[in-house]
Structure formats: C-alpha cells, structure tokens
Symmetry: C2
C-alpha cells in the first residue's frame, strides 16, 4: 500500500460534484472558480490524535469532525461552504482505517454540497489538517469584532454537551462500555458535531458579531469582547442546557461544563434588540433553537451573573481548575 | 506561553500586506477577494519532522521549506502566489523556535508578496501543513495532463542537487561538521528550495503540460505521462547537472540522484517544438536555465536512453534500491 493507493481511496470519497471545480484532486494544485461579487472565506483547523480526540475514536467520527470544526468556522462568518483540502498524516498506510475515515468526511461533505479538491498524505503521527473554503457576498462576512454596546447576546442550540461527553469518556465509569441514552447523546455531540451552517448564513443580515463556540463559552465570548473593545454580561441561568447534560451531572458541574467546556460548535452572536424578534422567527423556520444569554456592555471583560443577579468572581484566578 | 502568545509571534511574521485581504489572522476565518476573470489555485503540502526533514534542521529552513514546496505547486500551475494558511503542530510552545521558524516562512512570503492569512496552532509532534492560494486568468492554469504527442520535454535549473544534499546529511562523513563549498551548495538546495514562480507564470502561454519535480524526475514525468495517456523518452546525458553534484559523487550515483532523487522543486514541462525558441528567449530574460531532456511519445511509460541511444531497463523491478 503506497501513498498513491491511499490517494485512490481518498478520491472515491470527495463529497459533492461541483461545476465550479475546474481541476480537482490529481494535479499539482486544484483550480476553482469564485462567483463574481463574492469573497472567499478560508479557515484551517487541525486535529491531532491523543490531543483532540482519544486514540480509540471511530475513524469515521475523526473524519467527520475534522471537517465539522472547519464548517463551524465558515458558519461563524456566514459563509456558504464550497471546497476543502485535507492534509492527512498517518503512522502507516492502513487502507481500512482511511476508508472509514473518508466515509465520515465525505458524509458530512455531501450534506453540505462540499467538494474535497486536494490535499497531501504523509507518514507520521495521526494528524488531520483541513482547510475549508466558503463564499460570501462581497462585504457580508460576519466578524467577531463588530459587537456594539447595548446589543443582546444569543447562542444557538445547547451548551456544554460536548464537554459532558468528553467527561464521560474520560471518567473511569464502570458503565462506560454500556452507556445510557443520555451519555450517548453527549458523546455524539463530542464526536459528531453539527456545524450551524444554515444559521450562520441566515445571521449574515441580522447579527452584528458572531463566533463559533470551540474554546468554551467564556473564552469565545472573551474573543468577541476583546476584539470589539467592549464587555459582555451573561446570566448563568440563561444558558441553554440539554436534558441529557442535566441528567448526567450535578448542577455545579453542569455550570462549569457550560461556561468552560469547549467543542460545542454552536454559534454565539450579538444583535440589536430591535432585530431579535425577526431573528427568532428566521431561526424557528430553520429548526434552530436560540437563547438569549446576555448583553454587550461598555465595561471590558466577561461577567457572569448568578440567579440573584450578582456578579460571580471571574478573574483569571477563579475556576482555574478547568483551564 | 499559551496558544495565544504563539499566535502573537506568528502575527508578527505574516509576510506582505495585501489590499485583497479583507480579514486576516484573528477571526474564525480569513476573507479575501479574488480578482474578476481569475480562477483560484489551491494546494496543500505537509512537512513532518523526521520524515521530511531531519530533527536537527534549522527552524528558519523548516519555515522556508514549508512554504517553498507549496509555492512550487503553484508555480507548476502557472499561478501567481497570493495567500497561505499555516497549520502548525508543536510538541511544546517554544517561543524561540517559533520565532525563527516564522522568520524563514515570512522571508519567502515577502519575496513573493504573499500574505499569511490564518491557520491553527496545536500541540503534538512537529508538523507543518501549509495551504497556498494563487490566482490565474480564467482557463489559463497549466496542468500535468495536457502533454501532446511529439512535444519536447524541458526542465528548469539543475536536477539531483537536493537528493545529493540529503545524501551528504545522511552520510557518516567525518567532514560533516565542516562541509566544503560544493556540499554546502547541495545542502542549501535541499533546505532552501527556490520555487520557479516566475518561470511557471511565463510558461502559461508557452508550455502544454507542467509539473514540479518533488517526488523525483522519473516519478514526476510518470505523472505527466500517465495523466496525458502518453509516454516520455529522456536521454540520461541530457539531464542538467550542477558542478557541485558532479564534484561530490561518482557518475553512477549522480545519475541515480538525478533520476530518482526528489525535492528539486524545478519544473518539468512539455512544449511544441515550434515554441521552444521563444520559450528559451523568455527564460533567458528571467535568468532561468532550461534544458531539453526528451520527447513525448505514444508508447506509455518513461523510457531512459543511455549515451548510445539504447533504452535502459526501467521496469518496476529495476533500480528498486532507491524507491
């Protein structure tokens, strides 16, 4: 099994056929066509075995997630996914492993009409680096730096589930081999994240600032606040929680997972209060839950209010156990 | 030193400022603008420590080479380099290492007016995966599959030098710590390849098929022949050889290094005989040496003629020691 045999396997899983791909896999580079009056949106995310996923992860989940985390970045910009490249580093040329990895990758690519147009296969410790390309009407990309004072802050879906799934996998749970339905839901949120692509595109005309929640809610809201030179205040009782998370952990653990856990791949965005109703109606049509969690304020930093409206201590010295 | 500190170092080495970069490093994704009537050319190449370069390699050389191998792919398509992303996986957040790595990367990026627009930093075994983007007038990209029967085959520069440099580094040469000028030339060809960007762009209107020599001359000509459904015949005495290579190795070793060694990052291309003089004149103006090495024939495969015009045995069973 040589590099070229592996490339043959990969070529059977290239996702959607697209007429804008002039030259796909097989030349020195791919050639694609960007429609007029559109800009190109580009992101890169890498998954390393043992760092971003346990070595025991199903290869199909690894392939899916490597693309999903990039789709989530495109979603946060409001971009329509188009093409991806995959740099795949493998310890050995294992055809069955690559076949299954690419099945997961192509399944998600097909869901979004995305084409794999190139990449590289190399020998080394298992690493997947995907560069995803999307398109957006000129000047319409959402940025994290455009939050405005007084806007309200929303998130899509539920928060903390993926971190709960990771906690379950990492725990020495004697039932780990036989997880209940709630555990399965949380682990699936970790292994098969659903990027909010349609929501991101719909938010382009509605939201001011947008980011995907990958590092953790507080960390990612911190990126919005810092780059917008403002602050954000959120209510910890406003954070949308799945019943699965609630059933698996005590209240304090749930709160920590929601505030500090990562890998949710939901969107957090700021929006003028006057546009919130219109946004809610749009999101309802898309079947995308949204929850209002806070407000953009002038005072820098991210401030968490408890159920009595009192600010929790969120200095860098607080809650360090999770960082 | 956190990921965010590393990103600060990287942000100081982003290469050229370009007005077509609407959003660079620092958001979920970058946003760039492709000029009208142009297509986008995209390639990805990965370098893994211990596989693609010795662990002892100067980090500045690693950074340079990670971009250079991608520039070479753009050159083979005749594309003008524009933007790159860098997925950098590091065993530990070593600021001095990253600083030097990025110096090498940015030095080459600046030479080609290229901008680093995004990427990812992750923890793991040292791996650099670069995705490079170039632009080309619509329909003008060179491909490896467009060779035509009867065309002549040329290469740029000299062939085999990088493989010679690798042989020197790998040998237990007692003078390894004090290499002579010829050895230094060959090792520099390995560590600091010069992608043939200007030559590739000039060849767009002249050559039919083009490829960069990364896997080795025979292997890469094989890609041209296979994808063009033709064969290629080359004369082993026609292969351009540097005096450095000639001075360091015996004739048979030189021949093997030239035919099978990789990492040259020169261009091999096919061209109608009637256009060869015009091409030579253009390349002379660019200061780019070109050598005629063979011809496109109908019979499939790559056929090597010795100095007496006899075909060498090049079946898959031959010369396996180098594969």
């Amino acid at each position: 099994m040589s590099e070229f045999d592996l490339i043959d396997i990969i070529r059977r899983h290239v996702g959607a056929a697209r007429s804008d791909v002039r030259t796909g896999i097989g030349d020195d580079a791919a050639v694609v066509s960007v429609p007029p009056d559109h800009e190109l949106v580009i992101c890169t995310d890498t998954l390393v075995a043992g760092v971003h996923f346990p070595d025991s992860t199903d290869p199909a989940d690894i392939g899916w997630k490597a693309l999903a985390v990039n789709l989530s970045d495109l979603a946060a910009m409001g971009a329509l996914p188009a093409w991806a490249t995959l740099a795949l580093t493998l310890p050995e040329p294992d055809a069955r492993f690559v076949e299954r990895l690419m099945q997961g990758f192509a399944q998600l690519a097909n869901e979004h009409q995305m084409a794999l147009i190139g990449g590289d296969t190399t020998r080394g410790p298992l690493t997947l680096s995907v560069t995803a390309h999307g398109i957006v009407s000129t000047g319409q990309a959402l940025r994290r730096s455009d939050a405005k004072h007084g806007e309200v802050v929303f998130v899509t879906g539920t928060i903390g589930d993926a971190a709960g799934g990771l906690r379950i996998l990492q725990s020495a749970n004697p039932n780990a081999g036989n997880p209940g339905p709630d555990e399965q839901v949380l682990v699936a949120r970790l292994n098969r994240p659903q990027a909010r692509v349609a929501a991101g595109i719909a938010l382009r005309d509605l939201a001011s600032a947008c980011i995907d929640i990958s590092d953790g809610l507080l960390a990612d809201l911190g990126h919005v606040a810092t780059s917008s030179k403002l602050g954000i205040e959120i209510g910890e009782d406003c954070l949308p929680m799945s019943s699965a998370l609630q059933n698996c952990f005590d209240a304090e653990t749930c709160r920590d997972l929601q505030l500090f856990g990562g890998d949710d791949y939901e969107l957090a965005f700021t929006i003028a209060e006057a546009r919130a109703d219109s946004m809610r109606a749009t999101m309802e049509k898309l079947g995308c839950r949204v929850s209002r969690i806070g407000r953009v304020i002038e005072e820098p930093g991210i401030h968490v209010l408890d159920r009595d409206g009192r600010r929790r201590e969120t200095s860098s010295k607080g809650w360090d156990h999770f960082r």
